[in-house]
């Protein structure tokens, strides 16, 4: 479980960073999205990975983290997902505007056509 999570975070983050450093706007956008997926998984992992444990306290079970999973990172992830989603959508609009204005999808608006 841990190794799968760690590998997927690593794969998402590394491909995200690689795409972010590319010169075409769409690649940058996808790179940022992948990076945000990696970050979301990472926040989730910071609550310590546990399988089959509920995040809500039950009445007759002692409330320690051995029996429950930490609900705070899950709440943080939800907020982060919403915010990154909105920001990515905004970037997409700007990207289209830049494409329309410079007739080119290079991040600096120059280069050899698309």
């Amino acid at each position: 479980m841990e190794i799968i999570l760690a590998l997927s975070i690593g794969a998402l983050a590394s491909s995200g960073v690689w795409l972010l450093l590319r010169s075409r706007t769409y690649q940058v956008l996808i790179g940022l999205s992948l990076l945000s997926y990696a970050v979301n998984l990472f926040i989730f992992a910071m609550g310590r990975v546990q399988t089959g444990a509920p995040p809500i306290l039950k009445s007759n079970v002692p409330g320690d983290l051995a029996r429950f999973t930490d609900p705070v990172p899950q709440a943080l992830v939800l907020t982060a997902i919403v915010i990154t989603f909105a920001m990515t959508a905004l970037l997409l609009v700007v990207l289209l505007a830049a494409r329309g204005l410079s007739r080119n999808d290079h991040v600096d608006g120059r280069g050899s056509g698309s």
Binding site: T79, L90, L101, G109
Partner: protein, 542 residues
């Protein structure tokens, strides 16, 4: 503390937020109405900020500030807002700068795109939220509110240059936000809390196995803020963006780099102050070196920049770098001087960005649509200089010239204006912080040289540009400047003059602020023991 006053702490966020939401459905044709609403709301926010400022000023020296528990949840569990001296100062500064940008924009810039007033109010709400919050994740949320509004504002006025700049700006900031989240979650993983006061209480006792995680988290978080503050080598996006955005937006952005500085000033002494055990003054050397490198880069950029907007952008970098380097000394008295410098440089840069637009308007016909870069001017300059037109400087040019000179004096830190007092306070504190018989060490000498040489670089660059703009007659055209455009510049600069006259009381307030930052027990105590509002019988059942 009365109930009504207690709610004053959240009003600087709610008022602009509600105003912005109210203005979104209003039709763009009713722009005068929107402008009036926006001015009223910003004035209201400024009033509240001033009330908080006077409250913070009236506090006993050891008090930690007014704490507002959102949803009445006790401190480490719920989100808190804290209005202490630093927060009150920053929200006042933010309201002043936004108000100046707003009034300036009414004359013409508000009509360059849609929803300008809403975006500006959202921006104000985000700024005030960042300055007031006492929770790391909430800080992230307000950061995003602020950034989302700023993306819109960078695009205001449209045009190829702005769209390109905003593409870079958004990509850089989204990447920085990813780092922010990684940092926050690492800190949460290591300590199990996100409340700033609670973090400060827990960091000294963090186990050694977790300490590396914590420090890595803090460093990554720091990078996210330093991208905002424009520390070299994270600052290459800044001149390109600041020099092409609409002038009122650029003027407002003068506080945006200070947001990064604010977070460093707030969190670094709080979390990694003298009491942090093994992590005390963690990464201070990096801040120092980074700050020095930023000043050097900014000064070189200043000397190399050909047009006014880039000149102002590099001034932003110089002031950021100076603040970072000086704060990294880790001394309360020095930080007090740095805060004075922060206030002065924010106001002066803001005024300078507004002034630039008026000056540029006279230099290039049709400059109202795009902020033309030096590259565009390029070779034309020689031709313009051939024909000397010896007209007397009219009143407009005189006003602009005086404003320009005042900005130059403030930014370079020359007497008689407040920039000099700020630099003097920092230098005096640095020399005074070493023992009387011991000679100041190498760091102190480096910083002293840095402050003086950066001032020299600013002076040289500003003087050269001033001569070219005002004394070498390039065109006979005198810019038409409206009263509403001159007003904010005059107000911002007279605030600086007022700070020169009232330097004593301002410096005392800022000194108390800095001492509060470096002895955070009062802050921690007031946050962690903030009493919940008990429900009285009369209100019960609601």
């Amino acid at each position: 503390m009365s109930l009504a006053f207690e709610h004053l702490v959240i009003l600087p966020i709610l008022l602009p937020l509600a105003t912005a939401a109210l203005m979104v459905p209003l039709d763009e044709r009713r722009r005068p109405l929107k402008a009036v609403i926006a001015v009223v709301s910003t004035l209201g926010t400024l009033g509240i900020a001033l009330a908080l400022l006077s409250f913070a000023d009236a506090q006993a020296p050891g008090a930690g500030g007014a704490v507002y528990l959102l949803g009445n949840w006790p401190a480490p569990f719920g989100i808190v807002l804290v209005a202490d001296r630093l927060s009150a100062l920053m929200i006042t500064l933010a309201s002043i700068v936004v108000l100046a940008a707003l009034v300036f924009s009414i004359a013409r810039w508000q009509s360059a795109g849609s929803h300008f007033h809403s975006l500006l109010q959202f921006q104000l709400a985000g700024l005030n939220g960042v300055f007031l919050t006492g929770d790391l994740f909430n800080l992230f949320v307000f950061f995003e509110v602020l950034l989302a509004a700023s993306y819109g504002l960078v695009l205001h006025g449209s045009g190829v240059l702005r769209v390109k700049a905003s593409l870079h700006y958004i990509a850089v900031n989204l990447a920085a936000s990813a780092l922010f989240l990684i940092g926050v979650s690492l800190i949460y993983g290591a300590t199990g809390t996100l409340n700033m006061a609670d973090l400060a209480a827990r960091i000294p006792t963090v186990a050694d196995s977790e300490r590396m995680l914590l420090e890595a988290g803090a460093a990554i978080l720091g990078i996210a803020f330093l991208v905002k503050a424009g520390m070299w080598p994270l600052c290459f996006w800044l001149p390109g963006t600041y020099s092409v955005v609409a002038p009122p937006v650029a003027a407002m952005f003068s506080i945006m780099t200070k947001v990064g500085i604010y977070v460093i000033v707030r969190l670094w002494p709080l979390l990694f102050g003298a009491e942090a055990g093994a992590s005390a003054y963690f990464a201070g050397d990096w801040l120092l070196v980074g700050g020095i490198a930023t000043v050097v880069f900014g000064a070189l950029g200043l000397l190399a920049s050909q047009d006014l907007a880039r000149l102002a952008s590099f001034n932003v970098l110089v002031s950021s770098g100076t603040l970072l380097a000086v704060v990294a000394v880790g001394n309360a008295t020095v930080t007090g001087g740095a805060l004075f410098y922060l206030v002065i440089s924010t106001l002066a840069i803001s005024a300078f960005f507004l002034l630039i637009e008026l000056i540029e308007r006279g230099r290039i016909a049709g400059a109202d649509v795009l902020a033309v870069t030096a590259e565009a001017l390029g070779d034309d300059e020689d031709e313009e200089e051939v024909e000397p037109v010896g007209i007397a400087i009219p009143a407009t040019m005189a006003m602009l010239g005086v404003g320009f000179a005042a900005c130059a004096l403030l930014l370079a830190g020359m007497p008689p204006l407040a920039g000099f007092i700020a630099k003097f306070l920092m230098m005096d504190a640095m020399l005074g912080s070493t023992a009387a018989d011991a000679a100041p060490d190498a760091t102190t000498w480096t910083l002293l040289a840095l402050l003086l040489l950066s001032g020299l670089a600013v002076m040289v660059a500003m003087m050269r540009t001033g001569i070219r703009v005002f004394w070498v007659p390039i065109e006979s055209m005198v810019p038409t400047v409206r009263f509403l455009e001159m007003l904010p510049i005059v107000v911002l600069l007279s605030l600086c003059v007022a700070l020169t006259a009232k330097a004593g009381s301002a410096a005392r307030y800022l000194q108390a602020t800095a001492e509060g930052l470096y002895s955070p027990q009062a802050y921690m105590k007031s946050v962690l023991t903030a009493p919940r509002v008990e429900r009285t019988e009369a209100e019960g059942g609601s």
